[in-house]
């Protein structure tokens, strides 16, 4: 199997912190894996995820994603648009758009046909059990529903890799289980998934777990 993620020597320091948020982190993840990154608050686990998504500038180290090693911000944006789906603790849905239009957002610039964008967005919503909510505004959805729309948005461009930062952090147990179930289904279908979590139940659902403490990464299982 080829590597979904190859991270080597990642270093990131933030002003005012005693220790680096990432302290020479090395990580290899095979395609098709479902990896949990755990650790206490402020340990650097989210920073590691954002580094893998090219959303922060590293002080040192390099990330190769699905065989690509983007160097510029624009190149990272291109990789994120085509190959990565991102899910966050907050849903970050645009309140002025409907659920369907929110899901279409990553497809602008990737899929040129507005009709196809809409069809694919509706399919993505259906895949997370939100088919009947396509025309609804985020304000009219529950927290769990909003997070599922955010998950559909991450699936919009049929990504090879999903990076999720505390995707269940603001959900109750039932909704959390539902979101994790959806992610597991995606993983079974071949999508590589990285989940940053402090929830042991979520970590257990993953095929592998690594832990970050004070910026240093260690394998758990």
């Amino acid at each position: 199997m080829s590597l979904a993620i190859h991270a080597s020597g990642l270093v990131k320091r933030f002003a005012g912190m005693d220790h680096p948020a990432l302290d020479h982190v090395d990580l290899d993840m095979t395609e098709g894996e479902m990896l949990a990154i755990t650790g206490p608050s402020g340990s650097g686990k989210s920073t590691a995820l954002y580094a893998m998504a090219g959303l922060i500038t590293l002080d040192a180290g390099q990330v190769t994603l699905l065989g690509e090693a983007p160097k510029t911000r624009a190149a990272w944006a291109d990789v994120r648009a085509r190959r990565i789906g991102l899910v966050f603790q907050e849903d970050w849905l645009l309140p002025t758009l409907t659920a369907c239009q929110n899901v279409e957002l990553p497809m602008i610039g990737v899929e040129t046909s507005p009709t196809k964008r809409k069809e694919r967005a509706e399919a993505a919503l259906a895949s997370v059990g939100m088919a009947g909510h396509a025309g609804r505004a985020p304000a009219g959805l529950s927290g769990g529903e909003r997070q599922r729309v955010a998950l559909a948005r991450a699936l919009a461009n049929r990504p090879d890799l999903i990076l999720a930062d505390e995707p269940t952090g603001e959900l109750d147990r039932a909704n959390s289980d539902r979101v994790i179930g959806l992610l597991k289904d995606l993983n079974r279908a071949g999508t590589s998934i990285v989940i940053v979590t402090h929830d042991p139940h979520v970590a257990e659902a993953c095929s592998r777990e690594v832990r970050i403490t004070d910026g240093r990464l260690e394998a758990v299982r």
Partner: protein, 379 residues
């Protein structure tokens, strides 16, 4: 869903804020269109006043602030006629005065043989001749522009008071010049008598021979200038361009327009800065899902374009209406017909979009440069 659709929805999401900024843009563009249109109208009206008579050059008192305060001896007209290339020269006495209820009318005094009469097309009656109105106790005859006659409800045979003296209306005239349609013309001698300017006019209007080449024309102007050092010799367009009241109106229109446009640009910038600040998370998610900076900036610029594009369209319509309303007001009617042509409309649209770009670009670039990770992590 398109970028333009996203931009429109964002604007519609804050109807009050958008509406007030929109209003600022509308008023700025309306002010620009109305003021510039009116000033161009004033220039066009003055120019048409000479051009309809086929005037090539106007000779006025050198150094006079404007044509109406100029004093030129009528006696020099014969000398002017003798200059090589000059086909005709005619003294003209122009005054602005009250006629009936109309407080601002141009009155011209021309000699009976003067060629300026040819530019007036009689619709009723005849042009005045010496001795008109003596039987009715009038000091002379006058022909009224059709619009002025309509406004003061006067016609041939009626007596009207001009320069505090009674004149009998001998005819009504029309012309391509709005000033003349709203003005009156009488014999130079009658007007000189009533304005204490015996032997004087305000200008000498000159026509060159049609066969003159441009070099010969320039030579004729140079000869006139050197032969009559006490008089300013101006081609009609330059005369209008230098007319002090036109210059003042032009400066005022630009000052007011500039203040309005800068205010609108600041309002747009303020609105967009607030919008961008409120939507930091949304903009961060656009970056996170793979939108390049250029597309984020374009999306925000489209918001500004929606705001100012629609504002320009309404502003132009409002400006046209305002300019015509001002031109029809009692104190202004007869002086000006607004000139709002394609170039002014295109200028207004460009100005509107410029307001949008200037007002939006800085907030948009700042938004696109923000670090999405720190926003999405709530830091």
């Amino acid at each position: 869903m398109t970028l333009s659709g996203i931009a429109f929805r964002n604007l519609a999401h804050r109807p009050w804020r958008t509406g007030l900024t929109f209003l600022g843009v509308v008023l700025a563009i309306a002010a620009y269109v109305a003021l510039v249109g009116l000033v161009r109208g004033i220039e066009g009206t003055l120019l048409a006043n000479f051009e309809t008579r086929g005037a090539d050059v106007i000779m006025t008192e050198a150094g006079a602030a404007d044509m109406l305060s100029s004093v030129v001896p009528v006696a020099v007209t014969d000398d002017v006629r003798r200059v090589e290339g000059v086909a005709e020269a005619s003294p003209e006495l122009g005054r602005m005065t009250t006629i009936g209820e109309v407080t601002t009318s141009f009155v011209y005094g021309w000699p009976p043989e003067g060629w300026s009469w040819e530019a007036l097309e009689l619709t009723e009656g005849r042009f005045p001749v010496a001795g008109d109105g003596a039987a009715e106790g009038a000091v002379g005859g006058v022909t009224l522009g059709v619009r002025l006659a309509e406004r003061i409800s006067a016609g041939p045979g009626d007596l009207v008071t001009i320069f505090s003296a009674p004149f009998i209306v001998t005819g009504l005239h029309t012309t391509d010049s709005v000033l003349n349609r709203n003005g009156a013309a009488m014999l130079l001698s009658d007007m000189q008598a009533q304005t204490y300017r015996d032997g004087f006019s305000t200008s000498i209007v000159v026509r060159f021979a049609d066969t003159l080449s441009s070099t010969e024309r320039d030579a004729a102007i140079a000869t006139l200038s050197s032969q009559f050092p006490g008089l300013a010799v101006d081609e009609t367009e330059a005369m209008v361009d230098d007319y002090v009241n036109v210059r003042i109106a032009r400066i005022l229109s630009w000052v007011v327009s500039t203040v309005a446009v800068v205010s609108a640009a600041l309002a747009v910038m303020n609105t967009m800065a607030m919008a961008v600040n409120e939507r930091r998370g949304e903009i961060a998610i656009m970056g996170a899902v793979g939108w390049p900076r250029g597309r984020i900036i374009r999306c925000l610029l489209l918001e500004g374009a929606w705001l100012t594009g629609a504002g320009s369209a309404i502003g132009i319509a409002l400006g046209v209406a305002a300019a015509w309303l001002v031109a029809r007001s009692p104190n202004v009617e007869g002086f000006v017909e607004p000139e709002i042509g394609v170039s002014l409309v295109c200028g207004a649209v460009a100005l509107g979009l410029g307001i949008g770009v200037v007002g939006t670009l800085v907030p948009a670039v700042r938004a696109a440069l923000q670090d999405p990770a720190s926003v999405l992590r709530g830091k």
